[in-house]
Subunit: 340 residues, 2 copies
């Protein structure tokens, strides 16, 4: 029931996903009559879609924690509970981000050893998609959290996108090692010495769209600004180009001739191609789709969940957490660190 | 001597500025022979340009504070000293940003009452230029600093760009009043109650390119990311569009026909049109041009300095500081606050 185009677009996206993949089963959680009215428009294998009725709706501006606590019969709470109870592998929502985040942590819960669960969307770059984490879940995070984000992102890029030993960059205001604010100055040496990731150093924001790193690590406030600047600059530039092309007769003819080539080359900057933003490090998969998501994004997000499961991402995350724990134990025994 | 194209481009920019405005006098500070070799290429009124010889150069990656302390005969130290001694009204450099910042604070010094001097460049938006401060001078700033930035930016936009009662937005991860990290949550109510600015609330980064506010207030790390995302997304999209247009014979013809219209409409996103980033709140004007600045940007930056002087920006800033002091004094006397 979440997002700007519910229930039409989520339902259509679910239909597209089950038609695309016979192995997937989608539970559509929400107001039964509204969902069933939409479902009637399509032909699809009935056993692949099931409606789970919910009587409450969490609105966009509602205070998240309060909403999760009180609206027990909302689509977000019921959907997350399906994941908690292992009846579903993943939960997808385009609704209230704060509620998805709070509910994910409160209901599905973090894996043991995970400090914070970051939102980790794929973002377009000139060299293909990169993962950005944290894009907004945990503001004012600490350096140890950022180090975990680097590991989570590396596991995701390696398993879901097949990037071997993906490059990890720390977003900073300069490329030199000693640059930054208190947080990045503290995080840099930790990333440098942590094993199992391919840390390439500080990354200035201008290098992100150019493909400067495959795993982009940032504090959530900064990550959120990166994501939204992408959207903002992209849409304003496209608007400017469009009105430029429509400004004279000559340029209109030009636009007509170059349209299909332009469309094709700009497609790589279409965020909806990449699906939603997973909340990594929970005991099940929770994915936040854009509020403005349409059927294509819902379909891609559902298919992304299948890869997540098939690649056993959470198994790999748990393996990393065990290794981390072993390293910490060893260090504690050697009296080297007094952790946290 | 600073920037990627010194001394050719700064000299050419100075020539263009004096030819454009008979009232301006430019001191070119640097290696005498190199500057004079460039000057010989041009015809210009000799009394409007004077060479100040400097024997040392501060390199891009040098530690700033150390460089300012030890290289007393560098162009940055000598140029800033001209401003300190009131022999010049403004200093313009495309050199080491950290050195310009450290030198500005150490040599020219802050106005009494200014907590921090922010870099404050104009950035392009769909509704014309906006001012972004702080774009990188003072990381880990406090809420009281951000409130001053709002005032400094408002004075600049009103005086230099003629925007009456310019709108002020606080960069945040959500538009609702209570959103944010510790810093923005503390800053929001202060901005709301401060007099003399037109605070319109939180501003999501995606609204910046759309022209969501005329004065954009952000902590320096965030401001720097905004500025660099602008550059990065802009250049990658233009590159993508260009290669898209060159991908087929048909699209090449289309590109030829639409080129001039496109160029014109994209000009508003050309950062060099707006000159450099002033460091506001010092006892004289210090402006940092882009490292990649060419003659046009140097010329525009010099002309921007004239407006700064003619509009008596520093007089207006001082008036605001006096008003702020009076408010604080009143509050202290009333026992309401224990300042800082």
């Amino acid at each position: 029931m979440g997002g700007d185009y519910a229930p039409e677009e989520p339902v259509k996206g679910a239909i597209d996903a089950v038609l695309d993949n016979p192995k997937v089963k989608v539970f559509l959680v929400g107001i039964r009559e509204q969902i069933e009215r939409e479902l009637k428009k399509y032909q699809y294998p009935k056993e692949q879609i099931e409606v789970i009725p919910a009587t409450e709706v969490i609105a966009t501006a509602e205070p998240p924690v309060e909403a999760i606590r009180t609206k027990k019969d909302s689509s977000i709470v019921l959907g997350l509970t399906l994941v908690k109870e292992k009846k579903a592998d993943a939960f997808v929502s385009a609704g209230n981000s704060g509620a998805v985040l709070a509910g994910g942590t409160m209901i599905v819960r973090r894996l043991k050893g995970i400090h914070r669960a970051p939102f980790a969307p794929l973002i377009p770059t000139a060299k293909g998609p990169a993962i950005l984490l944290d894009s907004g879940a945990n503001v004012d995070a600490r350096s140890a959290h950022l180090v975990q984000f680097a590991h989570l992102g590396s596991i995701y890029m390696e398993s879901v996108l097949g990037r071997k030993n993906p490059t990890v960059g720390l977003v900073n205001i300069g490329a030199e090692d000693e640059k930054g604010n208190a947080l990045t100055k503290e995080t840099f040496p930790l990333l440098k010495k942590t094993k199992g990731i391919n840390f390439i150093g500080n990354l200035e924001a201008r290098e992100i769209p150019k493909g400067g790193a495959e795993v982009i690590v940032a504090e959530a406030f900064v990550g959120n600004v990166i994501l939204k600047m992408y959207e903002g600059v992209g849409s304003v530039m496209l608007q400017t180009i469009k009105s430029g092309l429509m400004s004279s007769f000559k340029s209109k003819i030009g636009a007509l001739l170059s349209k299909s080539a332009l469309k094709k080359s700009l497609k790589q900057f279409d965020v909806t191609e990449y699906g939603g933003a997973p909340l990594l490090g929970l005991r099940g998969l929770v994915v936040k789709a854009h509020g403005s998501a349409k059927a294509k994004e819902f379909r891609n997000t559902i298919l992304q969940c299948i890869t997540f499961k098939e690649q056993n991402i959470n198994g790999k995350i748990q393996k990393y957490l065990e290794a981390e724990k072993a390293v910490e134990k060893e260090a504690r025994e050697a009296g080297q660190i007094d952790h946290k």
